[in-house]
């Protein structure tokens, strides 16, 4: 707890709130523009439309956002040569864990606020039907889980490389592959970490080419895909932690 509290203390004046606000602003503007272009028929399926498109926005926005947050948190140690001081007081493994927990909490807060904002958007736009609390909650949890898997990868890179360009380039690549993977078959989506935003979607879509009509429907992510997500996360955690702990400062 002490180490986690210190992670927040160290991130004072690191403009973490601003980064999170920027992520929310981009998602809100994106979805706002998208929703204003929808006709009344599409808005009849408002909640599903919202969650379907939020998945797409997540796949584009979150990989780079997660990379930025991990980088902001790890860079301050590289910049100030603080590893050689910290590691005379705390085991490297505990430092790694504290940074990971910091990322988990920040992402949880960000995604909870995001869920609240889009609930307000739905209610404000008077989407028909009851609020899909369950799907909304699970969608937020899955966004967080996939983001944490990506965060484990990004934290590993940000801790290993002093120059944060490598980690940020990986984030940009992630955003690109994240959206591109929406066009991939499911087996290919499973092979790249950023594809899980789309793979674990809660809304499916049928598009009728003849009429141009779009129909959304609720779906449940497959348990095997959730298990694969855990495997990816475990892989990134184990590799990132081992490399960090073994690194001599």
């Amino acid at each position: 707890m002490k180490l986690l509290r210190l992670e927040f203390y160290k991130c004072r004046r690191r403009k973490i709130v601003l980064v999170c606000a920027a992520v929310l602003a981009v998602e809100l503007i994106w979805m706002g523009v998208f929703l204003t272009r929808q006709d009344a028929e599409n808005l009849q399926q408002g909640w599903m439309l919202l969650l379907y498109n939020l998945t797409i926005v997540d796949a584009i926005v979150l990989p780079l956002s997660v990379a930025t947050l991990a980088s902001r948190n790890c860079e301050l140690e590289h910049k100030g040569n603080t590893w050689k001081l910290l590691e005379t007081m705390v085991p490297a493994g505990r430092l790694y864990k504290a940074k990971l927990c910091w990322g988990a909490l920040v992402l949880a807060m960000l995604l909870l606020i995001r869920a609240g904002l889009f609930l307000v958007v739905g209610v404000y736009n008077q989407f028909p039907g009851p609020i899909p609390w369950r799907q909304m909650g699970l969608f937020t949890f899955v966004s967080w889980a996939v983001s944490m898997m990506v965060y484990a990868l990004q934290q590993g890179l940000s801790l290993w490389f002093v120059n944060q360009a490598a980690a940020l380039v990986c984030g940009i690549l992630g955003s690109f592959l994240g959206i591109l993977s929406m066009l991939f078959p499911a087996w290919l989506k499973r092979c790249e970490p950023w594809g899980y935003y789309g793979l674990l979607s809660f809304v499916g879509m049928d598009w009728e080419p003849a009429t141009g009509a779009t129909r959304f429907y609720w779906l449940w992510p497959q348990a095997a895909d959730a298990a694969l997500l855990v495997v990816w996360a475990a892989l990134f955690l184990a590799a990132g932690r081992t490399l960090f702990v073994k690194k001599e400062v």
Binding site: K2, L3, R5, L6, Y9, K10, R12, R13, R14, L76, K79, G80, N81, T82, W83, K84, L85, L86, E87, T88, M89, V90, P91, E248, V249
Partner: protein, 303 residues
């Protein structure tokens, strides 16, 4: 009692042996100067003592405890360190930086104010460390090392990059520590003059190997006095002196003789003049610390 002991300490990177079979003995209460040219293995050795770098072979004992991965952090609670450049969070103030260490070490909050006073940074409220001068950052690094009033302080080139005033200030601070707080200070440097002014014990390392370890007094003891004599015919003089049981060596056009009393020196000059051998120069010489350092390390000394 020795506060640090290393036995056969080695560190190998690839095929290069950076530290080789090092046996250091740091007496308690001393200011121990760890001297060597750049790249001699000083920082690597200090990092091994702190457990930041894993030794390839050998044993380390700090404060009477054998250092291993299990007790390392418990032992280091009584050790303060400043390795290479100071560690700091530039976006935080000096006080905030120290608060992080105070929290991690579980120390009383009053220590922050005290150490800021000791290093004379108590007037810098609200100023971010990124805006500090290098000297101030170095002093903050020293404050961080002092925060728990450790028994042992390990400082790696603490005056590196400082201007003359900063160097002087840092020297005064470090020199006071054993007397004021009963600390043992291990300080590395590639500057002989610095170690000469501050340390009472010295170890000299060359290419990872220990070439000297003793008191500073013993190092000075090596700077033996001798006489240097230059005559109109050194070869003949050398033979004549040898007949009188006075051995000499020829070096750069001078005959090097042991230090002699005034009376014997006068007799020699009279004897040479009687043999029609002119004395061109007669000098009393002393090997400087720089020459000793050069002899021991085989490298030019930084001054």
């Amino acid at each position: 009692m020795n506060i640090i002991e290393t036995h056969d300490l080695c560190k190998q990177y690839g095929n290069a042996m950076r530290v080789s079979h090092l046996d250091l003995n740091v007496p308690e209460g001393s200011i121990y100067g760890f001297l060597g040219p750049n790249g001699a293995g000083k920082s690597t050795t200090l990092k091994m003592i702190l457990g930041l770098v894993r030794p390839t072979a050998g044993r380390i004992q700090v404060l009477g405890n054998k250092m291993d991965s299990r007790n390392r952090l418990a032992v280091l609670r009584q050790v303060g360190s400043l390795i290479e450049s100071p560690s700091y969070y530039g976006h935080l103030t000096g006080e905030e930086n120290l608060r992080i260490i105070q929290t991690l070490r579980g120390l009383p909050e009053k220590n922050i104010r005290e150490v800021l006073q000791i290093v004379r940074l108590d007037g810098q409220h609200g100023k971010k460390v990124a805006h500090y001068s290098l000297g101030m950052k170095q002093r903050l690094g020293l404050a961080a090392a002092l925060l728990g009033y450790p028994k042992l302080l390990i400082l790696d080139e603490p005056t590196n990059g400082l201007d003359p005033a900063g160097i002087q200030e840092m020297r005064e601070l470090i020199r006071d520590l054993p007397g004021r707080f009963g600390m043992t200070v291990v300080m590395s440097s590639h500057l002989l003059s610095e170690i000469d002014q501050m340390a009472d014990h010295v170890a000299i390392i060359r290419e990872g190997e220990l070439v000297f370890q003793d008191s500073l007094q013993a190092l000075h003891g090596r700077s033996s006095h001798h006489l240097a004599l230059r005559t109109t015919n050194n070869a003949v003089v050398r033979c004549l002196l040898s007949e009188k049981s006075l051995d000499s060596q020829e070096e750069d056009g001078f005959l090097i003789l042991p230090i002699l009393s005034d009376e014997i020196t006068a007799k020699i000059t009279y004897f040479l003049a009687k043999n029609c051998l002119g004395v061109l120069r007669l000098e009393e010489r002393q090997k400087s610390l720089e020459e000793i350092f050069l002899e021991l390390t085989g490298k030019a000394v930084s001054l």
